[in-house]
């Protein structure tokens, strides 16, 4: 049981227990009239006083809860059983069965709920039985929809397909694999229905068309108290309060249950804690490349968690010159994407650059204010992202999004901007550019969308273009197109390109220099040819051996990348390294120069130089 559910759970539980225990609480008869004590205030034996017929208010309140909750729970459970069965069968069988069980339910949803209820009440007359029947019918479509939708999305799951491939009969798949996995959303739906049923029952009773007097019900009590509200307003407040508190508890329970069941819709998000940024450049660091257009040094990204600050990127430094391509390569969890987004100031709100500098055109990007950084972004400093579908706004035409990028950096008339957009579309190789400008992102292919993203990035002739896995989501033939395009653009503009990727083969194809990252640190950098030929860090060597190429079967690396909160003090790769010795684990290893323009973070890097060549 989740802690979040305890409070609303207790709340609802208390109401339920009191309602169930009504007969044994020794309450006065809720229907016994005593006209002499009409509208009497609080008195002995009647702490809440008497109503317009002299009946005990507290007793009626508790017995009323019993009626309301019985009707609500009974109808919710009937609807759940029938609706879930129909929805599951419909989703599994498809075809005409689907039509009969799922689509036909839409008809019930065409009636506003209370009106369908009134229609049935006209025929069958009011009463608790009618209410349960009507409410069940009303809530069945909800369960059908939830079950249907959940089963459909479940069906796409490989583990359901796996059970089917193992030869399990349909009934077993539905009951053992599907039902437990959709139980959460169904439970949420049950609690939603109970809350809605309480509202509807009280509403109908209030109109005098629900529970039949003299049976106690909150709706009926409000109806009765309304007539005497000028003399006895408190009579109105008791049932109103009881009703509101019950529904509030029920709603709260639903919300919490939904959060627990489906973490995606969690409404409580962790808020960033303010971390004071340290003064950058305290130590006069060495200057590896005076002519670099972008030089990052000692970049550390921190995420505040309840257990302290974790650093998924720590002390990262690299530089890139004009017209040069630097590849940052690493597996998932290496921190390569966070590094790039930190430089542009695009980190998600939970993360912050807490140390280091990023010198660009004589200024430190990390200490600039947001407005100054904004002027640079999309202007001199541009970025292309991995997934071109989600990175474009689906509701605007791509041309408008490109024009927006152009006009964000300079006063250009709309006509001029459109002409420039057309020119850019030609430049990135989009056929039929005039028509394509008016397309929406979903009308384009993945490769085409990535061309649009690139057009947007180069719109203002950036000096540095950071491309974060720009070809990972694309097919290999389209990847070849995009790599060629980026190379051509670089030749034309002379811009510096920072290319982030997980593929060493792509690095070999596109980059001049490479920077290998592991567990938030740079472990090796240098010219691509030299690094791949004779890596000076065991991780680089192992990565090369794991890349399938040639006739050799690739060799993997045992173990997993440590999580940021579990980074060891010594070398972070030691646990998975075939060359590790005790000294490796003792203390942090520094990134040091091992050759002209090459650095490695390994105490045995000199020995690495004597190993056979990595790439023949």
């Amino acid at each position: 049981m989740n802690r979040k559910l305890v409070m609303p759970g207790l709340w609802i539980g208390t109401i339920l227990v009191v309602a169930v225990a009504a007969p044994v609480l020794g309450l006065p008869d809720p229907v016994k009239q005593d006209i002499a004590r009409r509208l009497a205030g609080p008195m002995l034996g009647s702490p809440l006083g008497r109503d317009e017929f002299g009946r005990d208010v507290l007793s009626r309140l508790i017995w009323g809860a019993r009626t309301s909750l019985a009707v609500a729970f009974a109808s919710a459970f009937i609807a759940a059983a029938v609706g879930t069965a129909l929805g599951m069968i419909g989703a599994w069988k498809r075809g005409w069965v689907e039509w009969m069980t799922v689509r036909s339910m839409d008809v019930v949803l065409c009636f506003p709920p209370i009106l369908l209820a009134l229609l049935v009440v006209t025929l069958l007359g009011p009463g608790a039985g009618t209410l349960i029947l009507v409410l069940s019918i009303l809530y069945i479509p909800g369960f059908v929809r939830v079950a249907y939708g959940e089963v459909l999305s479940m069906r796409a799951n490989d583990y359901v397909e796996a059970v089917r491939a193992l030869g399990a009969p349909t009934s077993r798949i539905l009951l053992r694999t599907v039902l437990p996995n959709i139980a959460g959303p169904l439970l949420v739906q049950v609690s939603l229905c109970v809350a809605a049923a309480i509202v509807l029952e009280s509403g109908l009773s209030f109109l005098g068309l629900g529970v039949v007097p003299p049976s106690p019900s909150w709706g009926l009590m409000i109806r009765g108290a309304r007539t005497t509200m000028a003399q006895a307003p408190w009579l109105l407040l008791w049932p109103c309060g009881a009703l509101t508190l019950t529904i509030l508890g029920m709603n709260l329970f639903c919300d919490r249950l939904r959060d627990v069941v489906d973490p995606r819709t969690t409404s409580v998000r962790s808020r960033p804690r303010l971390i004071d940024r340290l003064v950058p450049g305290l130590l006069p660091g060495h200057d590896p490349a005076r002519d670099a257009v972008l030089a990052v040094d000692g970049l550390t990204v921190g995420i505040a968690t309840p257990r302290g600050v974790v650093k998924p990127v720590e002390g990262v430094g690299f530089h890139v010159r004009e017209g040069e391509t630097l590849a940052i390569v690493g597996e998932s969890g290496s921190g390569k994407s966070l590094t790039a987004t930190a430089i542009l100031g695009l980190l998600p709100p939970v993360a912050q650059a807490i140390e280091g500098t990023a010198r660009f055109a004589g200024r430190d990007l990390l200490s600039l204010d947001e407005e100054a950084r904004r002027r640079l972004r999309g202007g001199e400093l541009a970025m292309v992202f991995q997934d071109p579908m989600s990175s474009l706004n689906p509701v605007y035409r791509v041309g408008d999004q490109l024009v927006e990028a152009i006009r964000a950096h300079g006063s250009v008339s709309p006509e001029q901007a459109r002409a420039r957009a057309l020119e850019l579309f030609r430049k990135v190789g989009i056929a039929d550019p005039d028509r394509r400008l008016d397309a929406f992102p979903h009308e384009m292919s993945g490769g085409m969308r990535q061309r649009v993203m690139i057009a947007m990035a180069i719109a203002n002739n950036p000096r540095v273009l950071i491309a974060d896995e720009p070809t990972t989501a694309l097919d290999v033939t389209v990847q070849a197109q995009i790599l060629t395009l980026l190379k051509d653009l670089q030749t034309d503009n002379g811009m510096a390109l920072v290319f982030i990727t997980h593929s060493l083969s792509v690095v070999a194809e596109i980059a001049d220099r490479v920077c290998v990252m592991y567990a938030g640190q740079v472990v090796e950098d240098g010219p691509v040819g030299a690094v791949f030929h004779q890596p000076r860090h065991p991780y680089t060597r192992a990565l090369l051996a794991a890349t399938p190429e040639g006739d050799e079967l690739p060799t993997g690396i045992g173990g997993v990348v440590p999580l940021p909160q579990e980074f060891p003090t010594g070398c972070r790769f030691a646990e998975r390294c075939g060359f590790a010795i005790d000294t490796c684990r003792a203390a942090p290893v520094a990134l040091r120069e091992v050759d002209e323009g090459r650095r490695a973070r390994c105490i045995r890097s000199d020995e690495m130089a004597r190993l056979p060549e990595a790439v023949a």
Partner: protein, 331 residues
């Protein structure tokens, strides 16, 4: 390739498909979607101890073909036999009994396991359903299977979220092997993994293939991945088979212009391996409206009039099969 599989053609075919086709959607009474021809005219045969690499880009129909061969989705055309017999109708008792002999490994390490059950109980599902391993004891069998894929027996009690992606993929393999299948389809089993883990799983497949005498269909979008693992490779484009042949020959002298383009577009680590890159223009067309004639003609540098009008047949050429009008001329 290893010596144990030097003469794969001698083995009798276990899976035989001729002109297999699958069209999704279409205008039924209750559906109104446009028909999508996912697979058309797929012909192949695969025997025990053989491994076939099925390669293609997104939309090529490679995953659909894999599921067709397993009988998980019904074909809309062509013939398919398993061990000489046509597949029984989907869902029937005979169909379910046949599941024991054919299994599948999935791509996504996050979706492959039921998050609510221990991995041990999921691996035990197959033997339980088919009445296997009762004498030997289920837990022993689960332990053996875990050992087979390089995991420890005590891990059977854990839930999927306690494992890394590579480990979950291994568990998925163990589940597929739990029924001692003869035919295994691996649907992009390494695509979602980091390269260091990917190599480990490839090695595992390589070892299993030698140990278990399986007929293996290995689906991938990445040509280098299948190179070390498969005796033969089949290249698909837009639902059609373009070329099929022995791995080494296909990699060294691709006969179909598409295979050639695919190979040349694959990035290489070693500059010495690099070939002149053929950049295909445009994107793959939509499978809803495939081009006339040869489906590749819209992007092919060698396309002529005949390519636009006539569908090239899959025909034998120098020890392989190719579907190209100009294969001889381009050789």
């Amino acid at each position: 390739m290893s010596a144990a599989h030097s003469s794969p053609m001698a083995a009798p075919a276990l899976v035989e498909a001729r002109d297999l086709a699958k069209t999704f959607g279409g205008t039924g009474f209750f559906t109104t979607s446009l028909p999508v021809q996912a697979v058309k005219g797929a012909t192949l045969s695969l025997g025990r101890g053989q491994s076939l690499g099925l390669v293609g880009e997104s939309g090529s129909g490679k995953s659909t073909l894999g599921r067709l061969l397993l009988g998980l989705i019904p074909a809309t055309g062509g013939t398919l036999t398993f061990d000489g017999q046509p597949l029984p109708p989907e869902g029937s008792a005979a169909w379910r009994a046949l599941r024991r002999r054919m299994q599948i490994v999935f791509q996504d390490p996050n979706g492959t396991l039921d998050p609510r059950r221990t991995v041990g109980s999921q691996i035990a599902d197959g033997p339980a359903l088919h009445g296997l391993g009762r004498s030997a004891g289920t837990s022993d069998r689960v332990a053996d299977l875990l050992a087979l894929v390089g995991l420890e027996a005590r891990m059977a009690q854990r839930f999927p979220h306690e494992f890394s992606g590579g480990q979950r993929q291994r568990i998925g393999i163990a589940r597929a092997l739990s029924t001692d299948p003869d035919f295994l389809v691996a649907d992009e089993p390494v695509s979602a993994l980091d390269v260091s883990v990917q190599a480990q799983v490839l090695r595992l497949f390589h070892g299993l293939r030698e140990k278990l005498d399986l007929a293996l269909l290995f689906i991938s979008h990445d040509l280098p991945v299948v190179r070390h693992l498969c005796d033969r490779v089949m290249v698909m484009y837009l639902g059609r088979v373009m070329e099929e042949g022995p791995t080494r020959a296909l990699f060294e002298v691709p006969a179909h212009p598409y295979t050639r383009a695919l190979l040349s577009a694959t990035p290489r680590l070693d500059p010495a391996h690099r070939v002149t890159r053929i950049i295909l223009p445009g994107d793959p067309p939509s499978p809803v409206k495939p081009p006339s004639g040869c489906v590749f003609h819209t992007r092919c540098a060698h396309a002529t009039e005949v390519c636009r009008t006539e569908i090239p047949a899959l025909r034998p050429l120098a020890g392989r099969t190719v579907a190209c009008h100009h294969a001889e001329a381009l050789a």
